[in-house]
Symmetry: C2
């Protein structure tokens, strides 16, 4: 039985296992094989592994100190299959980036400074650059904090997460097709879409095209997921993210609907008045409604909402100071765009939280040094 | 942030965290407080803790070496709440007992013998005595094995689990009301029931009383769970397991339906012919269909099927050699009753499997030495 060190860290509303790249290499096992076995991906309940059997709890990041200029830590993000022996390496995860930042300050991957430490990260799946700023008073790495994010009542270490120059990370262009508005044909016929690439590539539709108002509960939104899943593939082709002959990705691009703000209730029953947010959004995570919104999706939505002609711009309340309050099923998440150095798109900042849950030695049922 | 050592072990079709009693005491924190925080029980997704957000993955056992005669290891089993800040201590879990046995041979709680080691266990929730026999060739504790149980394709260390003198563990009588057949009144009116106590207290109904044939899929059986939940409370009162003023337990007694064998398909699609099992059974786990059957429930069903006059006896195919093949949603589980010492009810043996998944240091968000 192979041994592998890892840390289970909550980043925002995701539970991520973080592994050191050198430990993974030292196993001599192909990384996909290792993760599929460690998580028991073959089982929809992941009963024989460390996976949590949901899209937000079947995630991993593999990290290492970086020698690249302006980068402290590189990480590869893995979405590990659930009842599906596949690992998706095509996307980034902002919640896991938050966890990576906390891991980095605890494991000597970045020198600590007083009163806070900024971890400069490179996501090697997408080339995205992120920063995570964590309070480190007295140059001590914190385990506890009082920061909260919508979607969980749990407290954690505050992490200010920045998406640096997010426009065009995956495709080189913020509008990969060159248009703010395209059309795609799916199971509901031809529908308008805005295809954007910022933080993550995303295909954003208007909620009303699906007979929705964009403030649906998770249960009510679920019935639209199959139609969006079909459109995700069409969007991937249109954005140049996949060729016709490639296998279908369930992770790329992000897909969801946007709408004008109207009063709604969050999943936990909290009333959100119409004037307390600027744009309603319901996103898909793999094959199910996302309980909140992925952070890379939040960056894409915020970026789209600032571009005249997109569907998000059409329905979002416009603000003067670069903030955009997104009304998600879990509550309101505020993205703030701040000017960056010349030639770079604005950095998008999000206030997040992370907590180390466990440090572990995993026993992985693969033979050492024997890739499958 | 409090630190606590633990091991995540799969026992059969459950994922259990095993903690050492001395480590738990050393925290200075009330055990319920500790587990609720470690698992993030308050959250239905348990996103800030080690819980797996399902009834079969939100379990713990707290173990210690025993000084009692004929007992190697005592353990307390905890069913930790999911979106519910409560820990149930009222029941035993056979799958976790399997995990406890593997933990015991790995952590010096029992001397190893060649070629196998039997761990004699006392479940302190119910007073049940169990044995777990594990191959230990060369007095070495195994991490890997090739044993399988219905409900998972994963391989594990073979554990022969024995329920010793299981009759009347919780109430002192195998038929707590003195009758093989009782009636209870629930949401569907008055219904026949057999109330038995062996392995666990259980209330067993005939499937046809609910319009079922006992071979329903998990989805189809789910609609009957609310009616059985109401009847569980009535059964608890009838069996003397609860008083009217006690809070409602969702764990005690076990509740389910039995029926004559007919051909069916398991959850993974495997066809089970009518002659390959002896009794159809569909059990409830907390608020949902059990994906297979709890092992203590299997002991109760097997015991009931051997008692003339019970509903299980009425519909089960009778066998001559003490074996009873139970047709569960996950597949067929065989229980074998073997004669025990005089005055004791037959030991019920089940072939199970266990695997250590991870050894961990948990970071628990409670203040050290400060019980809530």
């Amino acid at each position: 039985m192979l041994r592998l060190q890892g840390e289970m860290i909550r980043g925002g509303t995701s539970k991520c296992w973080i592994f050191d790249h050198h430990d993974v290499v030292a196993t001599g096992v192909d990384t996909d094989t290792l993760l599929l076995a460690a998580y028991n991906a073959a089982d929809p309940r992941q009963i024989d592994g460390v996976g949590g059997a949901s899209s937000t709890t079947s995630k991993a990041a593999i990290v290492q100190a970086s020698t690249k200029s302006g980068v402290d830590v590189e990480y590869a993000f893995a979405q590990v299959g659930i009842g599906d022996e596949r690992v998706e390496w095509a996307s980034n995860c902002g919640n896991c980036a938050t966890a990576v930042a906390l891991y980095a300050v605890h494991n000597g991957l970045v020198p600590l400074t007083s009163d806070s430490t900024t971890v400069r990260m490179l996501n090697i799946n997408t080339g995205a650059r992120l920063s995570g700023t964590i309070p480190t008073p007295g140059r001590a790495a914190p385990d506890a904090g009082t920061a909260r994010v919508p979607g969980t009542a749990a407290l954690g270490v505050p992490v200010l997460l920045g998406f640096e120059d997010p426009a065009g990370t995956s495709t080189g262009r913020v509008l990969p097709t060159g248009h703010a508005l395209d059309t795609l044909t799916g199971s509901i016929g031809t529908v308008e879409v805005s295809l954007v690439d910022a933080g993550a590539p995303a295909a954003l539709f208007e909620a009303k095209a699906f007979g929705l108002d964009g403030t649906e509960s998770l249960g009510d939104f679920a019935s639209t997921v199959p139609a969006l899943t079909v459109l995700r593939r069409q969007a991937a082709l249109a954005m140049g993210l996949a060729e016709e002959t490639d296998p279908v990705s369930h992770a790329v691009p992000k897909v969801g609907v946007v709408a004008r703000p109207v009063a709604y209730r969050t999943t936990d029953g909290t009333h959100v008045p119409q004037d307390e947010y600027d744009l309603a959004v319901r996103m898909v995570s793999m094959h199910a409604p996302h309980p909140a919104i992925g952070l890379t999706s939040a960056v894409a939505v915020a970026t789209a909402a600032a571009i005249p002609g997109t569907l998000a711009h059409r329905v979002a309340r416009q603000t003067a100071d670069g903030t955009l309050r997104l009304g998600t099923p879990a509550g309101v998440i505020t993205a703030r765009a701040v000017p960056a150095a010349e030639g770079a798109s604005p950095t998008v900042l999000l206030h997040r939280a992370a907590r180390r849950i466990a440090r572990a030695e995993l026993l992985v049922p693969v033979l050492e040094g024997r890739p499958a």
